[in-house]
């Protein structure tokens, strides 16, 4: 069955709501409006306003309430409309959800899933174009899932709910219209995956940069460079085994990161490759990141500010000079 990424997300939500009475969805405009990206469209009619709950513009309160409800025996899925607005409830995420289990001496796990849309590329300007999933990956105590495929868009939510601890699931509006077959494969939130086999360089990417890396790999293939593409899928904890196995095989790597470079996820991956596979490398690890600017509105400037296939191609070629 061919479905869109958006439909896959919706199917995951529907199944989660149907499977467990304790699960409910809460967020701004998730009900009557049907979700700002139409992800939760139809769910209000199917599950009613108790379980598909429209919330006021009170991100700090309803994310915190999600934590409380989780502790109180429910299984909330909280939707923060976009990652940009998650800076308002950041305190509840970092200072409560991520910390509680450890700081209570293991007494309180927080079975909470927070979903949010992320990324740039639609000329929404600086305040609506952040990509903070790598930044959230800095925080111990939460898992970070970044579905880049139809199967992951569908299955990661269920895996996150089954985890029993706080999981942030990042959804990519840039991918919402992409279509694909839904497979019967079991989805975890533990492993990276090789999306394309290759021999001469490893492209490490996640989320909306996975298609860009695949596109770059196609172009590199035309020029005789056979690239392997690793989709991180989970940004915390990192599955370095998969990354390192690939890098040891290809002996070169380019990290593609939709976030900013300084202190970012790309830096972490490069450091770990350096720590664990330095002597397997034939070239320094390279990276393609978001330029270190707030994302501008004008299309040509926005395009220039974001990772693109041609920049990945250029970075790979740089490793062979």
């Amino acid at each position: 069955m061919k479905i869109t990424y958006r439909e896959a997300l919706r199917l995951g939500l529907r199944e989660a709501l149907a499977r467990d009475e304790r699960v409910f969805l809460m967020g701004e405009d998730v009900g009557r409006y049907g979700g700002t990206y139409a992800v939760s469209k139809g769910l209000l009619a199917e599950f009613g306003p108790e379980r598909v709950r429209d919330a006021p513009l009170s991100e700090l309160a309803f994310v915190g309430a999600g934590i409380g409800a989780a502790l109180g025996g429910m299984r909330p899925i909280v939707e923060v409309m976009t990652v940009n607005f998650s800076l308002l409830p950041l305190d509840q995420i970092v200072n409560t959800a991520a910390i509680l289990r450890h700081m209570s001496g293991g007494q309180f796990a927080v079975p909470l899933v927070i979903r949010m849309a992320t990324g740039a590329g639609r000329q929404l300007a600086a305040q609506h174009s952040h990509s903070f999933e790598g930044w959230y990956a800095h925080i111990p105590g939460i898992k970070i899932a970044a579905p880049a495929t139809i199967d992951d868009a569908h299955g990661m939510l269920g895996a996150a709910l089954a985890d029993g601890n706080p999981v942030l699931v990042f959804e990519y509006p840039a991918l919402f219209e992409t279509t694909g077959e839904l497979s019967a494969e079991a989805i975890d939130i533990a492993h990276a995956k090789v999306r394309r086999q290759g021999t001469r360089v490893t492209l490490v990417a996640y989320g909306n940069c996975v298609p860009k890396a695949l596109q770059a790999a196609d172009r590199l293939a035309e020029e005789g460079i056979n690239a392997e593409v690793v989709d991180l899928r989970v940004l915390r904890p990192l599955d370095m085994d998969t990354v390192l196995a690939s890098v040891r095989k290809t002996r070169r790597a380019v990290v593609v990161d939709d976030g900013w470079r300084s202190g970012g996820l790309s830096a972490e991956i490069m450091a770990r490759v350096m720590e664990q596979a330095f002597y397997d490398l034939d070239a320094p690890v390279a990276r393609v990141c978001r330029e270190e600017v707030p994302i501008p509105y004008a299309r040509h400037l926005e395009e220039a500010a974001l990772p693109q296939a041609d920049k990945i191609v250029a970075a790979v070629k740089g490793l062979f000079q």
Partner: protein
Amino acid sequence: MSTPIPPPPSGPVPYPPEKSIALLTDMLRIRRLEEKCAELYGAGKIRGFLHLYIGEEAVATGAMRALLPVDSVVATYREHGHALLKGVAMTRIMAEMFGKKEGCSRGRGGSMHLFDAATRFYGGNAIVGGGLPLAVGFGLAAKMRGEERVTACFFGDGAVAEGAFHESMNLAALWRLPVAFFCENNFYAMGTAIARYEAQTDLCAKAASYGMEAFPVDGMDVVAVHEGAKRAREHAMASGPVFVEFRTYRFRAHSMFDPDLYRDKSEIEQWKTRGPIHTFSARLKAQGDLTEERFLEIDAEVAGEVDAAVAFAEAGSWEPVEDLAKDVYAP
């Protein structure tokens, strides 16, 4: 919507004809500018988010004419009209929406982020409630520096649910800052009607609970808005913060991405009978201050201004990619 819809604004307009015509012209400038924007969005010239103010023009118009050039304005992403009437040239607003270098934010902000230092227009904030603390800070600076200026902060009803609203109300009241909080209550935050997200829908009661002067105004009546805003400015200057709830309505969808399926068409039609431009024109005509001919003349002049703005934007240039990191502090 639970609140009953009042009858259309009516009655005599207590202004000299020149002033009334100026108010009418300003409302038309916003309306025609935005109708053109909607058209240009369809043509792909304007991209990203575009939030139209159509239906709500009386609020920015009546309020802005109560402010002085020394006053500061902080607004939201639905701010084309506010920027225009604070004095930002329509040409530079249109160029901004095209993403051109000649735009008031060099094409980097787009529709939601109009800025202009010269006219003290401080944006253009797309984080709901994000402008409120900023306005408190402008009030604080003015008070500490002994400057005679008011800061007008525009925000929607939805922002009232944010913590930033409540923290800002308290701070402004505690320190008696010269800030006018202008709430544009169009009864919806995106697709959610106010009664579905506010336990207390009397917004003035919230502001009053901070010990602040607060009153509601018919936001579809430019006269009521103007008088209310004048009163608010005087109050802010003399004795500290004030909250005004302008009850208004947006005739268009929340943004160009919104299919607008959450409200009855009949509700929109009923509010349209209260439309700020046609009701005000009718009142002026009734008292002999406006003829249909004069109206058409004004409308044609406004159309000329809009056409010139589009031509300016079309003729504009793209900021060179090499300048991408220009003005990034600590890149």
